[in-house]
């Protein structure tokens, strides 16, 4: 076989594999959107869920998902940023740091049910938090940290060593070099990490069933005081997310339109994730341009 034929065969195989991946993706997305979009309406998005009657919406679940994401990022991003900077810029290459890296990886491969039960026993019961968004956010931080830490570490590593030398040779301290030069150049990579981990947060159900709970109490969207139990911002209230809602509808849903709501909620979930991706990218590009003056 000459090199031209073998090249053609290899290219063909690669095309087939790529087509398979895209095909699966298009099929899944198409199926979810096709079955779900007809059920999405203004009413569906702005009304509360119903336990027994038909015609419920996903307003609270949708908000809970977003709020949970924000809380999770508020908790996990600073920790991940700190440890990412440490691992990339300061950590010497020895047994201790490779232990840290291994530990971070093990953390990411924990089954989510186990993390959920752990969160339940420790936060919900032991720390007396009850089923709450906060307990859910802390549990999700366990998943988020490895992903975020690794992606921050890697995007910092991708910034050329020359940039660090340039900063140091101008008499800047290492810290100023990292925060002023390396970090801004790493923004796109860090952003990808945030988007990936956000997808995980939106889609997670098992860990949340035991921590954030399965009920979405009626909250007052006009009450901006997070300390008030009725406030939509109260982090200590139980909060069923979209993903948990979908799981519940499909396992123990008793409303007559459970299947329709589940399809609608799935479509909403996917659209929200796509929107979040787009917005985060736009925001990130804007920040990157602002910081680096690239056009």
């Amino acid at each position: 076989m000459n090199s031209k034929t073998s090249n053609n065969i290899a290219t063909g195989v690669i095309y087939v594999l790529v087509a398979a991946v895209i095909g699966i993706l298009v099929f899944l997305l198409g199926y979810i959107l096709w079955t779900g979009i007809p059920h999405i309406s203004g009413h569906f998005l702005t009304s509360a869920a119903q336990s027994f009657r038909a015609g419920g919406g996903v307003r609270d679940q949708l908000f809970n998902s977003l709020y949970l994401l924000v809380l999770t990022l508020i908790i996990s991003f600073p920790i991940a940023l700190g440890s990412g900077i440490y691992l990339s810029e300061y950590a010497p290459n020895n047994w201790f740091t490779s232990l840290i890296r291994t530990a971070v990886e093990v953390l990411s491969s924990l089954p989510s049910v186990v993390v959920g039960l752990f969160g339940y026993l420790l936060f919900v019961i032991q720390f007396n938090m009850g089923f709450s968004i906060l307990a859910g956010a802390i549990a999700l931080t366990f998943f988020n940290l490895p992903l975020l830490t690794r992606s921050i570490e890697e995007s910092l590593q991708d910034v050329s060593q020359l940039q660090r030398e340039a900063g140091l040779s101008l008499g800047l301290s290492r810290w100023k070099t990292i925060t002023g030069i390396v970090l801004p150049a790493a923004v796109p990579g860090i952003l990808t990490g945030i988007i990936l981990s956000a997808g995980r947060v939106f889609g997670e159900a098992a860990a949340l069933i035991y921590t954030a709970g399965q009920s979405a109490p009626t909250v007052n969207y006009g009450d901006w005081n997070p300390a008030d139990p009725a406030s939509f911002l109260n982090p200590l209230r139980p909060a069923e997310t979209l993903a948990v809602h979908i799981w519940k509808l499909n396992t123990e849903g008793v409303t007559p339109d459970a299947a329709a709501i589940s399809s609608g909620a799935s479509a909403v979930l996917i659209v929200v994730i796509l929107l979040f991706n787009l917005l985060a990218r736009m925001l990130g590009n804007w920040m990157y341009k602002k910081m680096t003056a690239t056009r």
Binding site: L168, S169, L170, G171, I181, T292, T294
Partner: protein, 264 residues
């Protein structure tokens, strides 16, 4: 390769005011003894060139002079600058680098605008006044012979500059800090001949106000711009003399073989 004696050296003392000197400088990468006993004197407001084959230790030596080898290698011996040994432990290396600045082989502008490339370090060092910053930007870009090419696009990304322009920006960035000494590590080796000529022209201008030490592969470059030249070979400085003398009438066999191309 022919074996040259490392004991056979010719290193002159400089009869001028000195910018900095090294005494018995030695560098170790782990067990690897990369630089042996380098004792050189560098005059003020002159250009000194360090030449030698790849791996001869000239870049390693240069990087010691503003402590860029910290955390990479062990450096022993004295580096005297203004009557202070800047190779001692209690020295603030960040302060040292404000006085002794370095330009690297590959242009490494920050991913920022041209203006910010220059003002970033200035601002971090406490210069907040807009007029002063603008003045420094203009002065340093003029000193690096880049002003006319970029004066209308100071807020564009520095990453869009050509290699030669980027390297001159890196020189301007150092000059803006008003250092005493400029260290240049093969600043033109990644550039085309026209950019190289511009860099050399820039260095000739800067020589009036700065002491310059430049590592170069290119012997023609050394003979064109340097007042003094040191020849490095396998981690030893074998010869250091006035450039013209070293190139026309070297004292050491190894130097003669290297500059006449009979090396290795």
């Amino acid at each position: 390769m022919q074996n040259y004696s490392f004991d056979d050296t010719h290193i002159i003392d400089i009869p001028l005011e000195k910018a900095m000197t090294t005494e018995n400088l030695q560098v170790f990468y782990g067990d690897n003894h990369a630089m042996h006993d380098a004792s050189l004197e560098f005059p003020r407001y002159r250009i000194a060139a360090l030449i030698g084959a790849s791996g001869s230790g000239k870049s390693t030596y240069l990087r010691c002079l503003n402590r860029m080898n910290d955390r990479i290698a062990t450096v022993k011996g004295k580096i005297m600058y203004r009557d202070t040994d800047i190779n001692s432990k209690n020295i603030n290396v960040y302060e040292v680098r404000k006085h002794i600045s370095m330009v690297f082989q590959r242009p490494n502008p920050f991913a920022k605008s041209i203006r910010e490339n220059i003002t970033f370090a200035l601002k971090r060092n406490g210069i907040k006044d807009k007029n002063e910053l603008n003045k420094r930007v203009e002065e340093s870009l003029k000193a690096a012979a880049l002003w006319d090419e970029v004066k209308d696009e100071l807020d564009k990304s520095a990453l869009a500059l050509s290699g030669g322009q980027a390297q001159r920006l890196c020189i301007a960035r150092c000059v803006a800090m008003k250092p005493d000494i400029l260290l240049l590590d093969e600043p033109a080796s990644a550039l085309d001949p026209i950019s190289t000529a511009k860099i050399e022209e820039t260095l000739q201008q800067l020589r009036k106000n700065y002491s310059i030490i430049i590592v170069t592969h290119n012997m023609q470059q050394a003979s064109r711009i340097a007042d003094y030249t040191a020849f490095f070979h396998m981690g030893h400085v074998l010869e250091y003399d006035e450039t013209e003398k070293l190139f026309t009438n070297p004292e050491i066999k190894a130097t003669e073989d290297y500059i006449s191309g009979n090396f290795g």
